[in-house]
């Protein structure tokens, strides 16, 4: 919201790793305790900075996966890019008790809070689920009456991040529906979609346009632009569609 836009300049601060958890073979969640964390809004991100012994800095941005209800605990989910400079360190070398430099929270555009209402339509491609998961977790804690649908595209069953938690939340949290599509490999008996997101799938899963849903799309650039273009063609107002695009660099 613009009304909360005055924040002050961002400075680097230190967080301590208090937990790490593998999510899939290529992704890991890292929970930091950040003293003095001012709180964040679901959808925001942080920048991380690694400094080598010779003073060389590498910076990367990662979405926050945890809800603001976790207070000073900030969880990021990092996808390992084998050729990357930063993500292999974060996923392989980082341990509890290590300190990391970060600045944030950053962003106010790709943000959803329970007070913004719904119905909510979330569309994730791969690790694009991360900021949307902060929204889903926040909804469960603070806004369970907001009807929410997630369409989540992954390459294979094993690459679905937060799969068990999403299953649990759809059981325990009425009004949350999750539809998966797998684009490369499907296990025997798979009941979900088995193709890339297309107009028929979006028409099936999205709230009807006359319900004026709030839509958030996050994933690789072609995924996001494809889904946003299809939704615009189906009659969804662009003012209610927010997008966040990223590339798989590491």
């Amino acid at each position: 919201m613009e009304g909360t836009a005055v924040l002050g300049r961002l400075n680097w601060q230190l967080g301590e790793v208090v937990a790490t958890r593998p999510e899939t073979p290529r992704t890991k969640s890292i929970t930091l305790d950040v003293p003095g964390w001012t709180g964040h809004r679901p959808g925001q991100h942080v920048d991380l900075r690694l400094t080598s012994e010779d003073g060389y800095h590498a910076e990367r941005s990662y979405s926050i996966a945890s809800p603001p209800e976790d207070r000073s605990r900030v969880t990021l989910t990092v996808e390992r890019i084998d050729t990357g400079e930063v993500s292999p360190y974060l996923t392989d070398e980082l341990h509890e008790g290590d300190q990391l430099e970060l600045r944030g929270p950053i962003g106010g555009y790709f943000v959803w809070e329970a007070s913004m209402g719904g119905p909510l339509f979330l569309v994730a491609g791969g690790s694009g689920i991360v900021p949307l998961m902060a929204m889903i977790r926040h909804r469960a804690a603070a806004g369970p009456s907001v009807a929410t649908r997630l369409l989540y595209s992954s390459r294979s069953l094993g690459e679905i991040i937060y799969r068990d938690e999403l299953d649990r939340l759809t059981q325990s949290s009425p009004g949350l529906e999750v539809a998966h599509t797998l684009t490369r490999e499907t296990p025997p008996g798979w009941a979900g979609y088995r193709r890339r997101v297309d107009a028929d799938m979006l028409r099936d899963v999205a709230w009807p346009p006359d319900q004026n849903p709030l839509t958030y799309i996050c994933g690789p650039t072609p995924f996001v632009e494809g889904a946003a273009t299809i939704l615009a063609g189906l009659g969804y107002g662009p003012q209610r569609i927010k997008t966040e695009r990223f590339g798989p660099t590491g």
Partner: protein, 93 residues
């Protein structure tokens, strides 16, 4: 968001926000920028951003003009705004 600040890659303006907010004391993704070339206005979160080790370029999604260029060198930030006619910053909160 994953690894947005790696090698050059077309991202969106959200990826430039941390760098901008280290300079400007405001939330920057909702700042409206008017292109000095084509006159289109977009919030920075909706622009295109190219981020590399050399720096960050925010481009107009309508005409691709460089709206904002930021480089960092030896502890200084270099900000080139010649592609932006107006930045509308919500700053009275």
């Amino acid at each position: 968001m994953q690894g947005r600040m790696g090698r050059e890659n077309k991202l969106d303006g959200n990826a430039s926000a941390g760098t901008l907010q280290a300079i400007f004391p405001f939330e920057m993704t909702e700042v409206m920028v008017t292109c000095a070339g084509c006159g289109a206005s977009n919030v920075i979160g909706e622009t295109a951003a190219y981020v590399s080790g050399m720096g960050t370029i925010v481009r107009c999604p309508s005409c691709d003009r460089a709206l904002i260029r930021i480089a960092r060198l030896e502890g200084r930030s270099y900000l080139d705004l010649r592609g932006s006619r107006v930045l509308r910053i919500h700053a009275d909160g």
